[in-house]
Structure formats: C-alpha cells, structure tokens
C-alpha cells in the first residue's frame, strides 16, 4: 500500500452527493454509504451523510472537462478520480457520468461497471491512500469487479489502519459486546438532513386507504419542493462561486497593476540616479543620442518610449535582427547593436499596418519566413514588408476562440521548433501543416513554469533559448527543466537594449 498526501486530522468525516437530482441518486447514496462503511469497519473513521457543499468528501458525477483540470474521457478508460485529503477539493471523488454504471452492486459485468467497487477505490484516495501494485488490493489502479462483502484485502487494511488506526482494541474474554451505532442513525441526527421518505405508507389498520394516499401525495409534494430548494441552493452556490472567481481575477489584475507601478517607480528612481551619476561619462553605449531629448520634447501625440525604461509589447528575431515593439514604435538591433534613429514608428517598415496603430501584441517569423503580426482580434501576414493577399484575418480563422480579444505572445520554441501563441492564462500550439491551432489546446500557461500568466512577450533568440518578458524584466527559459532559469526577472534594458548599468545597480549574484 502507498500512503499519499496528507491524512485527515479528524476521524469523523462528512460526505455529500452533489448530483442529488440524478435518476439513480438514492442508489448512489446507498452504494457510497456501503463503500464508506467498509473503510469505517476497518479503521477508527466514521462517516455521516450531509446535504452540504461544506462536506469533507463531495461525491460528483461529471463528464469531460468539469473544472478541475482533469477532464474525463467519455465511456471507457478513465472511470473516476479523487483528490487526496485536504481543504477545498481535497477528499472529493468524481465519477465519469459517461460510463455505464451498475448501481446494484452486481458481479455481472454485462450490466455495466460496478459502481460500488469503483467508489470503494476512489474513497480510498479520499482518505489518503495512493495506488498499490498488489493486484488483490482495492487500491490497484485497474478496474476489477471483485466481491467486496464488507471486508478489505490485507494490503488496504494495513494502509488505512496505518493512517487512522484500527477500529477497536482486542479485549479480554469478559469484555461485553459494544453497542453499535448505524450510519443511518448518525445521519438522521443532523437538523438539515431531511427525513428519509417512506417508499410506501406503512400499513395501519386504523387508517383508511384514502388517507394513506393523501399522506403519500403530501410526501411526494414535500419531496418535490425539497428538490426544488436544493436546486435553488445549488444555483446560488454556483453564482457565489462565480462571484468569488471574478473577485480573485480582479485581485490578480490589481496585483499586476500594482507590480507594474512599483517597478515603474523603482526604475524612475534608478534612472534619476543614473542620470546624475553618468553626467561625467561621455557616452552611453547604444543609447539613442537624440532620443531622450525627443522624449522630453516630443509631440504629445506620439511620445517615444524611453529605450532604457520600458516594457515590451512584442519582440522577435526577423531576418536575423532583433525587433522590439512598444506602442506604435520599434527598435531594431543588428550585429552592431542598436540602429541609430530608433525607436521609430512601426508603420515606417510595415505601412499596411493600421494607421491608428496603438500597439503590436505579438510578432514572429514563420517557417515560410513571413512576418506575422498580432494586433487585437486580427493578425497580419507580411511577405517582407508587403501585406500578403487576404490579410488581415480574424484570430478565429486560426481556430482560436472567437471571444479571444488579443494574443500576448507568439514564439517558435527552440526545443521542438513548434509555434506557440499565448493569451492570459492559456496557450495554443499551431499545426504547421494546417496553419490551425492543434486539437489538444488551449492548455494552462503553468506548464511554462515560473513565467506566470498574462506575459508581455516571448521569443526565441539566436542562442536557441526562449525568453519570456513581463514588465521591465525577462526570464530565460530552461527547456530541459521546463522552468525559468532564474526565478527573479532580469532587467530587459540591460541585455536587449544594452543600456549601461547605473552606479548603484548590482548584479543578482552580487546582491
């Protein structure tokens, strides 16, 4: 057996079936109760059923993508999964609603997958057991329709007892038999758990048949009302969750704004110090001589960004030279460094770009050596500086969602020479043959570990390495470890614009 994840700190656990209105809900609840009683009988654990989204273990039937990042795959293969003990989703067991389930606990496979056995296995995970390679164990990962009969195989029993101890000590011969409390009794003790409906009115010779029918009808209405209330509560919970999610997203955006502001202020301060400490220096390498003056005296319509203190909207190698885009401007950096006269307006190179261009979201050079610009909901393909026929096209024509408002970054990953697009928390891969987004996408940006969400830009440099940009900094990406080579960003202007270090700045190593 394998113990995995944390264990529950309590032994009295609660559980709840989320899909109360599914056709076989009562059978499911009975089977879950039976499965839990097997774990209960072999450990100090006790379980009680509640109708609450705060229950320790939520039993959920869901299909395909269901919000936890581990999507189900339709009938067959993956039957269910469960989370190890913990807060939030910890302990929850999810079952693939697309399976043909047999909720009667039969041994006959032709009736479907034995739900009791699968529940028994998943609840093992909910309690802190990992997969065992013992083929007789409940926790063996592959489905087996074994007879359960309330007993646990030794392997599982040893595992659960290591976590939560055994049910009772071994008593001497005169120990009286303990009284047992059934799960049903425990469940009934909860105020908000409704009375279990009687399947049919109990026979009472003093009451006539009509009154029994009335009671039955009343009971049916009460159940109906209860179901409706549950549904209302579920919807309210959903709305509440959505509100919380939106709140979190807003907080994330606010943190991002604050971080940008903090870095900007820090850089302004550093820049002021640099100006005062470099007045004695004759020149600054690759600094655009007239640029600062331009910056301060430029027309208010299109102020040029400060070469040594700006973040990048897009960056790409084009024809062997480095192009950095910010607002409607670009810098061009060749073998001899930054070209003089830059930054200049991007439309001076690619005049077919929109006249009111405010920024370029992303740029890359594709395998046909065409230059691809992403601007808002459209993308432009250029043969050198000439717009290719039929462009611009909407992002949706690449197979991207029609709701997508922009692309953050586009880059060809040196590790596999494939093209990637990112936006917010997601990224896509382009199939070079079809020119369309591949089917398995989008995926979560977290695979590019350390880079985070909502990046500014990314590109592959001549050294073959991929660099990600956010705010005033950048990360080098380590392809082998699939994470950033340095957790803290390094200052972009130093490496890419070759700006001089000010007197007070030190390297990370020195710091």
């Amino acid at each position: 057996y394998v113990l995995q994840g944390p264990k529950w700190s309590r032994t009295d656990l609660t559980w709840s079936l989320v899909n109360q209105t599914m056709p076989d809900a009562s059978k499911v609840r009975m089977m879950v109760s039976r499965a839990l009683s097997v774990w209960e009988n072999n450990s100090k654990l006790t379980f009680r059923e509640v109708y609450s989204d705060q229950a320790d273990i939520q039993i959920v039937f869901a299909r395909l993508q269901h919000g936890d990042g581990y999507k189900f795959d339709g009938p067959g293969q993956v039957l269910a999964h469960a989370f190890y003990p913990g807060e939030g989703r910890g302990g929850d067991a999810h079952f693939d609603a697309d399976e043909t389930w047999d909720f009667d606990g039969g041994a006959d496979d032709s009736r479907g997958t034995n739900f009791l056995n699968v529940a028994l296995h998943e609840l093992g995970h909910s309690l802190g057991l990992g997969h065992s390679s013992d083929t007789n164990a409940i926790m063996f990962p592959w489905y087996q329709n074994n007879e359960v009969n309330g007993q646990l195989p030794d392997d599982d029993r040893h595992g659960i007892q290591e976590l939560y101890g055994s049910k009772e000590k071994t008593w001497g011969p005169y120990r009286p038999r303990p009284t047992t409390t059934t799960t049903t009794t425990t469940m009934r003790s909860l105020n908000y758990y409704p009375e279990k409906p009687a399947n049919r009115p109990r026979y009472n010779p003093n009451k006539d048949w009509e009154r029994a029918r009335e009671r039955q009808e009343l009971e049916r209405r009460r159940q109906e009302q209860e179901r409706q209330e549950q549904e209302d509560r579920r919807r309210e919970r959903e709305r509440q969750r959505e509100r919380e999610r939106e709140q979190e997203r807003e907080q994330e955006r606010e943190r991002d704004r604050q971080e940008r502001e903090r870095v900007r202020l820090e850089m302004e301060r550093a820049n002021r110090e640099r100006i005062t400490t470099t007045t004695r220096r004759s020149t600054r390498p690759y600094q655009n001589g007239g640029h600062r003056q331009n910056h301060h005296h430029s027309k208010p319509r299109k102020p040029k960004p400060d070469t040594c203190m700006t973040y990048y909207d897009a960056i790409s190698m084009i024809r062997g030279e480095l192009f950095i885009f910010r607002g409607p401007f670009l810098w061009r950096i060749g073998a001899s460094g930054l070209y003089p006269g830059y930054p200049t307006e991007t439309r001076r190179h690619w005049s077919a770009l929109p006249e009111n261009l405010t920024k370029v979201d992303a740029v890359y050079e594709n395998k046909q050596r065409q230059i691809v610009f992403f601007i808002g909901r459209q993308y432009y393909v250029f043969n050198s500086v000439n717009l290719a026929p039929g462009f611009p096209k909407p992002l949706a024509s690449l197979g991207l969602p029609p709701t997508l408002t922009h692309i953050d970054a586009s880059f060809v990953w040196g590790h596999n020479n494939r093209t990637y697009l990112t936006s917010g928390t997601l990224y896509w891969r382009i199939d070079d043959y079809t020119g369309q987004v591949e089917l398995d996408y989008p995926r979560d940006m977290s695979i590019w570990s350390g880079v985070g969400y909502n990046i500014d830009a990314a590109f592959q440099y001549v050294d073959g390495k991929t660099y990600f940009f956010k705010n005033l900094g950048y990360w080098e990406f380590n392809d082998d470890r699939m994470k950033v080579a340095h957790a803290r960003t390094k200052l972009s202007s130093r490496k890419w614009m070759q700006c001089a270090r000010n007197a007070n700045e030190v390297d990370d190593e020195q710091r």
């Binding site: 581990y70 067959g76 993956v78 997958t113 592959w142 489905y143």
Partner: protein, 96 residues
C-alpha cells in the same frame, strides 16, 4: 486481438499516469529511448505483467483496461489539493 498502441498513445498514457513527467506534454517526442523504456518497465511492473520494456500485447491490453484517473507514482503528487492552483483547468481558481 488487441489493437496496436501508437507511440503517441503510449506517451500520453505514461504522462497521464505519472510514469513520465507531465512537462513532456510539450517535449515528449524528444525523450530518449532509455527514458521511455524505463517508463514502460515501471508501468509493466506496477500492472503485474511481464516486464519487457516493450509495447507488447500484454502492455497494449493493460492500456485498454478501464482504470482510475489518479496517477500511479507517489512522487508525482498529482491530485493533491496543493496542486489545484496549478492544475485546475485553464488557471481558473476554484474555491468552495
């Protein structure tokens, strides 16, 4: 007769159930043969079938068998609530 298993299927299976790191979702085709063989051997050992390191018929059968979606390797730490913020589909944080 069991349908042959493609190498892509094998990669996906091995990654899905933690025999290969999930980062290979992007770089899988660049794995060394040795790493792949080791992963197959590990799967075969876990599944109690002959350990050959090859995608033989017993392995193909094992791959087709219905199973639990939780990974098999302890070190992978998948399905831990601690991992939810990273793995909860498309970066959506979910809190009850």
């Amino acid at each position: 007769k069991t349908k042959p298993v493609s190498q892509d299927d094998m990669y996906n299976y091995l990654m899905q159930f933690d025999y290969l790191p999930k980062s290979n979702l992007e770089s899988g085709n660049l794995l060394s043969d040795q790493k792949l063989t080791d992963a197959i051997r590990s799967l075969q050992s876990f599944g109690n079938i002959p350990v050959t390191g090859q995608i033989d018929s017993a392995t193909a059968r094992l791959l087709k068998q219905p199973r639990c979606g939780v990974g098999d390797q302890k070190s992978a730490n998948s399905f831990s609530p601690d991992n939810l913020y990273h793995d909860s589909g498309y970066g959506v944080r979910v809190r009850r």
